[in-house]
């Protein structure tokens, strides 16, 4: 009797506890939001251009041309990241659950920067720490920031971490980071599903979803 009852209750209970978003629901969301986001986007950053190219490759359709890449902006980002690296190596990007604002973007820039062994090892250690934080704290991860952020800026930081993870997965082939990015994107879904198209956070989220899908497609190819 108990076994039968438990067997009957198991599937709905699993569905109730499952915090992942079905693939079909994500696809539906992307199809619904993509065109409206593209039409209002302000293509400024280099990563937006990469996104636009990928959007065009994947979904086709009229996508506005992004501006020509700005080497000066890229150099400035590299210089800022190097400067950041010199000041932070005695600390951690995540320390006792508190995330150092800006770390993800700087780490992403530094992934492709030539560095000595010591800072390279520090970066690898930070990536592992971030991964462990997200995987062990799950939905309670990336909740505290230093300095403290408002809700909007906090989402930008979370998207930056997801983008960092996706880039690590793409460039190093480390699927653990794609695995974590999938979870981060799922947990972010409920906050973005009804967001208006002109909200800049939505662009960041959609960009991460598209990159995630591209990596999954490559994995399955």
């Amino acid at each position: 009797m108990l076994q039968r009852l438990a067997k009957w209750l198991l599937p709905p209970a699993i569905r109730w506890l499952d915090d992942s978003v079905p693939e079909s629901e994500l696809e539906q969301f992307l199809n619904a939001k993509l065109q409206s986001v593209i039409s209002v986007a302000n293509w400024q950053a280099a990563q937006d251009q990469a996104l636009v190219t990928r959007l065009r490759d994947q979904f086709g359709g009229p996508v506005p041309m992004p501006p020509i890449p700005d080497p000066a902006a890229e150099q400035a980002a590299q210089a800022a990241a190097r400067c950041w690296l010199q000041t932070v190596t005695s600390r951690n990007a995540i320390e006792r659950g508190v995330f150092m604002v800006g770390s993800a973007d700087h780490l992403r820039v530094l992934l492709n920067t030539e560095l000595d062994d010591t800072p390279r090892a520090w970066i690898d250690d930070q990536l592992e720490r971030l991964l462990r934080h997200v995987e062990t704290r799950r939905q309670e991860s990336l909740q505290q920031f230093s300095p403290t952020l408002d809700k909007e800026a906090a989402w930008n930081e979370r998207h930056a971490v997801t983008r960092l993870f996706l880039q690590v997965a793409r460039e190093r082939g480390d699927l653990r980071f794609l695995n974590a990015a999938l979870k981060l994107n799922d947990w972010a879904f409920k906050f973005h599903r009804r967001m208006p198209a002109d909200d800049p956070r939505l662009l960041g989220y959609i960009g991460n979803l598209v990159e995630q899908q591209a990596l999954l497609n490559a994995l399955e190819a």
């Binding site: 438990a6 198991l10 569905r15 506890l17 693939e23 462990r132 995987e135 695995n179 999938l182």
Partner: protein, 280 residues
């Protein structure tokens, strides 16, 4: 050798088989069994955070179905091993009574009362068969150490879902699958290695079958290592932290990708074997 066991629940089949083997082995003394209380807010919260919704399936299989979970399986499994070993006891308490030692249940293996009990038994080794994280205070009690049988090959595959991850990551070589008995330390599966046993894929495998096969070997492997320790025939080998990575629970889409990879691997094995047969 004085051995104490840590178990996740009192009916754990893995723990019962190991306890049974230890209790009847000459020169091996089972000095106590510590069981973690299954229902506590801290445990449910921790395991739910780690396992997510599949915790429910685990609870259903282990607490509701119990030994019956293995009955429908056609391959050699843990229940087969239990029967072969002559195990009849349904709980760890029964085995403890037969062995003349005490089996106690605590909220957590690391609770002060649990630590006091374990210290009083003066174990030389502790065999961990489940029940959550083990803290330093407990790790430092036995003279030799706390042993764990990890369902993956160390050092490369530390952490969770390390049956599925190697399949997902395998490129041209066969996925490295197997069991590792090691001493536990403060890290995740980073303690000194005692024994590695590799497993290969077999036609018709899926992850459930593969895990069942690995699980069936765990108690006997752990027992053999304990026996070798008693006979001083095994030396622990330290791990280099850079030789491995920590893995985490697979996202459902990654799990699906791993299943697809596994099917591809198996069909390539089948093709190779049929090509080999036709060549003969």
């Amino acid at each position: 050798m004085r051995v104490l066991m840590l178990a996740p629940i009192r009916s754990s089949l893995y723990a019962r088989v190991l306890a049974h083997l230890l209790a009847r082995e000459q020169g091996m003394e089972l000095v106590g069994i510590v069981v973690r209380r299954p229902w506590s807010w801290g445990r449910i919260r921790g395991e739910l955070r780690r396992d997510g919704p599949r915790l429910l399936k685990k609870v259903y299989q282990k607490l509701v179905l119990g030994d019956a979970a293995f009955k429908s399986s056609p391959q050699r499994n843990l229940l087969t091993v239990a029967k072969e070993s002559g195990l009849t006891a349904k709980t760890l308490q029964e085995i403890a009574a037969q062995a003349g030692c005490t089996c106690l249940t605590f909220g957590d293996h690391n609770d002060q009362k649990s630590l006091d009990f374990i210290r009083a038994q003066t174990p030389e080794a502790i065999a961990f068969t489940g029940g959550g994280l083990i803290r330093r205070d407990l790790l430092s009690i036995p003279k030799l150490g706390v042993l764990n049988c990890h369902m993956g090959l160390l050092p490369p595959y530390r952490g969770m879902d390390v049956v599925e991850w190697p399949v997902l990551e395998a490129a041209s070589n066969a996925p490295p699958l197997g069991l590792t008995v090691h001493y536990m330390d403060a890290g995740v599966d980073t303690g000194p290695l005692l024994r590695l046993e590799k497993f290969g894929l077999e036609p018709g495998d899926d992850f459930a079958r593969l895990r069942e096969r690995l699980t069936a070997r765990m108690p006997t492997l752990m027992f053999e290592v304990l026996r070798d320790l008693r006979n001083q025939r095994v030396l622990p080998a330290a791990q280099n932290s850079a030789d491995g990575r920590q893995y985490y629970v697979l996202h459902p889409r990654m799990y699906t990708a791993a299943q697809r990879r596994l099917s591809q691997w198996l069909s390539s094995i089948n093709q190779n074997s049929s090509a080999h047969s036709s060549a003969i």
